[in-house]
């Protein structure tokens, strides 16, 4: 019986990933007994460059870790904060879990949509913001909470949305 594997098509990793990215991923591998364990770290590292991960990068990571490309794709699509399509310069994650729901999520969410003129899952035409919902930010004593890039804010009132956005040009 011929076993068909979906091993990544061999690519020249060095042309897709930067030297620093390759170095960084190799550094992550050192933390684990098997290279595969660095897959999520690698995706997060590569995502820092453009804000999202494209097919070539997924392929390159699969090559570097010697893991089937579908497995890397499986990890990339499983996690909420790995993006497989382009996002804006800043990603706004509005917590919609119960603690924030109880403290005013709906009004805050409506204000973000109105202010940005977009719905969840969309990016502003100028490429500045992408708006997404996120499950519990673990900031429940300060709901409603928002995560912009790597900064957590809370409580945020609808009146403060315009001011908050100004910090992210």
């Amino acid at each position: 019986m011929k076993i068909v594997t979906d091993k990544a098509p061999t690519v020249d990793v060095a042309t897709i990933l930067t030297a620093q990215e390759i170095e960084g991923i190799k550094e992550y591998i050192q933390h684990y007994p098997h290279a595969r364990a660095a897959s999520l770290d690698a995706l997060k590292l590569v995502q820092k460059r453009n804000g999202w991960v494209d097919d070539a990068q997924v392929n390159a990571i699969a090559n570097l870790l010697d893991v089937p490309v579908t497995d890397i794709e499986g990890v990339a699509t499983f996690f909420n904060r790995i993006y497989r399509s382009p996002v804006g310069r800043h990603v706004i994650l509005v917590c919609d879990s119960i603690a924030c729901y109880l403290t005013g999520y709906e009004a805050l969410s409506a204000k973000f949509k109105e202010q940005l003129g977009i719905d969840y899952g969309q990016t502003t035409p100028d490429g500045r913001f992408t708006l997404l919902p996120i499950c519990c930010l673990g900031n429940c004593d300060k709901g409603p909470s928002v995560l912009i890039d790597e900064d957590t804010f809370g409580p945020v009132s609808p009146e403060e949305v315009a001011e908050l956005l100004e910090y992210y040009p």
Binding site: H34, R36, A38, D41, S97, F153, E163
Partner: protein, 528 residues
């Protein structure tokens, strides 16, 4: 307590400035110390988890932590044999703080005997249960305490390597833990031959990227190995075959943070901690908290024995003006709702279970009277639906169905029988019918909401009035039915037909019951 502890609401400008200064969200209200009582007398004996915060706003460097009895517990542990430490923790009955409440020492004792190969200790820091936020504080402000707890645990279970599996959104916590580990390495508190002993341990920080299921211990192990975070079949339990097929223990942040003080003060001290209130048999202290529309949401380290009412009214400052308590979740979105009648329940594992819920993480979330339970449940179930890993069919298909039914009811398009369908789901997605506890966890708030607030679900289901019937037609139909009935009874005498037997039985039963009622009705006249 209430007026003093009122948090200052920080403006967006202040929040942004603090973030840029590297101050974490849980430090925003720095004037609030998560300790109840006299700050000055808070010690390692009275508030073992948070006492250092009463004296210092943040424990960032190793020297400060060491000056406050840091690593004393580790030194004591290293003087003992691993089994001795394990037996101590088992005897102390430290119940897991991740939600399940299982004896941590007992969990450790299931580890297979050392065979010379690697063994792992994993700290579950993937706190994503809506309504809980205690581990964030312990990691952001007391990273060395967690690391010391992990070192003690690793020594007890013979772990060679450890991972702190931290959710991707806790960015500052991850940064601080990494920095703290580096400081420990530089000071022979981590790595090979720790403090000159023959104990070696290597600790790494592994960050997630936002999936609730990673909090499930076997899903967490899969994610750590670089796979999709689907749960694994149990058995084998991780203690037999965990990370990379090797013996592994997974403990929560708060559980591990408890270890240093126990090694400093001993088992008897831990066992006697509940005596402060004298009404709970659960030993130790716990970080309790409260969120929702209360005056002072936050966290407090308390011994077991305080009631939910005391936590909400005394520590959280009571409900906000104009708000009345309607229901509460004892410890996260996957616990059953309790109501005002349960407010005097003691917040410990056994008492909350007796009241019909689970203590979970012990962080109360209050629901006020203005909340309609149907959209509220819809919000909860959308969370669980979205976070289902999709590994098993009941969860993958059942949770969206629940959301669909709740959405229909909320939109006024619910059908008679929808509530019963939801109740059916709570049975079909219950423990043992799904791969892990995700779907059963989703069913707990749903089941209890229907139990206590069924009328709210019912009031949203519009029962369509029966269509108007034309009187003439109805009279005609009735006479036609009678004609048919009479021909049936005349023409075909019931011989052996099952239907007729049933009819006879039915009429007999009816006659019997009528007879009985006649009897009972006649009794008073007999007496007369």
């Amino acid at each position: 307590m209430t007026s003093e502890a009122q948090p200052k609401r920080l403006s967006i400008a202040e929040q942004f400035a603090r973030r840029k200064q590297g101050k974490a969200p849980s430090q925003l209200n720095e004037q609030r110390v998560p300790i109840y009582g006299d700050k000055e007398t808070a010690t390692i004996e009275t508030r073992p988890l948070t006492w250092r915060l009463a004296h210092h706003d943040a424990i960032l460097d190793l020297a400060t932590y060491q000056s406050l009895r840091g690593f004393e517990g580790l030194k004591n542990a290293l003087d003992k044999a691993p089994k001795e430490v394990g037996d101590m923790i088992k005897a102390a009955n430290v119940r897991g703080r991740g939600g399940a409440g299982f004896n941590a020492g007992l969990k450790w004792s299931f580890m297979t005997p050392p065979d010379g190969g690697p063994r792992y200790l994993i700290c579950n820091a993937d706190e994503m249960e809506p309504g809980t936020f205690k581990d964030r504080l312990l990691m952001e402000r007391l990273p060395f305490q967690l690391i010391e707890g992990m070192l003690i645990t690793a020594h007890a279970i013979g772990a060679t390597d450890g991972y702190i599996f931290i959710r991707g959104e806790y960015i500052i916590a991850a940064e601080r833990l990494m920095a703290a580990i580096d400081e420990c390495i530089a000071n022979n508190l981590m790595g090979d031959n720790i403090l000159g002993s023959d104990f070696s341990f290597h600790l790494h920080v592994h960050t997630g990227a936002g999936r609730y299921i990673c909090g499930e211990e076997t899903a967490l192990i899969n994610c750590l190995e670089g796979r999709r975070a689907n749960p694994r079949t149990k058995p084998p339990f991780p203690q037999i075959s965990g990370a990379w097929g090797r013996p592994t223990v997974v403990n929560n942040v708060e559980t591990l943070s408890n270890m240093p003080a126990i090694l400093v003060n001993g088992v008897d001290w831990y066992q006697n901690l509940p005596n402060e209130k004298g009404n709970s048999t659960t030993p130790g202290t716990k970080i309790f908290g409260c969120s929702g529309l209360v005056n002072d949401p936050g966290l407090w380290e308390l011994p077991f024995g305080y009631s939910a009412r005391e936590i909400i009214e005394e520590f959280a400052g009571g409900m906000q003006q104009g708000k009345t308590l309607k229901a509460w979740l004892p410890g996260g979105a996957s616990t059953d709702f309790l109501t005002t009648e349960h407010l005097d329940t003691i917040m410990d594992f056994d008492s909350i279970q007796k009241a019909g819920s689970r203590m979970g993480t012990g962080l109360i979330m209050v629901v006020d009277e203005s909340q309609d339970m149907v959209p509220l449940l819809k919000n909860l179930e959308i969370f669980f639906q979205r976070e289902s890993c999709g590994w098993c069919t009941p969860c993958r298909d059942g949770l969206p169905w629940g959301v669909k039914l709740l959405t229909a009811i909320d939109d006024g398009e619910g059908q008679v029988g929808d509530i019963e369908k939801l109740e059916g789901l709570t049975r079909d997605l219950w423990i043992g019918k799904t791969f892990c506890a995700h779907a059963p966890g989703a069913m707990e708030p749903l089941m209890s909401a229907i139990k206590y607030f069924r009328h709210e679900f019912e009031s949203k289901i519009v029962v369509e009035p029966a269509p108007e019937v034309d009187e003439q037609t109805s009279q005609w139909a009735e006479s036609e039915i009678q004609k048919v009935m009479s021909t049936m009874s005349k023409g075909k005498p019931a011989t052996s037909s099952k239907a007729s037997t049933e009819t006879n039985n039915h009429s007999d039963a009816k006659a019997g019951s009528e007879g009985e009622s006649n009897d009972s009705a006649s009794k008073p006249s007999d007496v007369k």
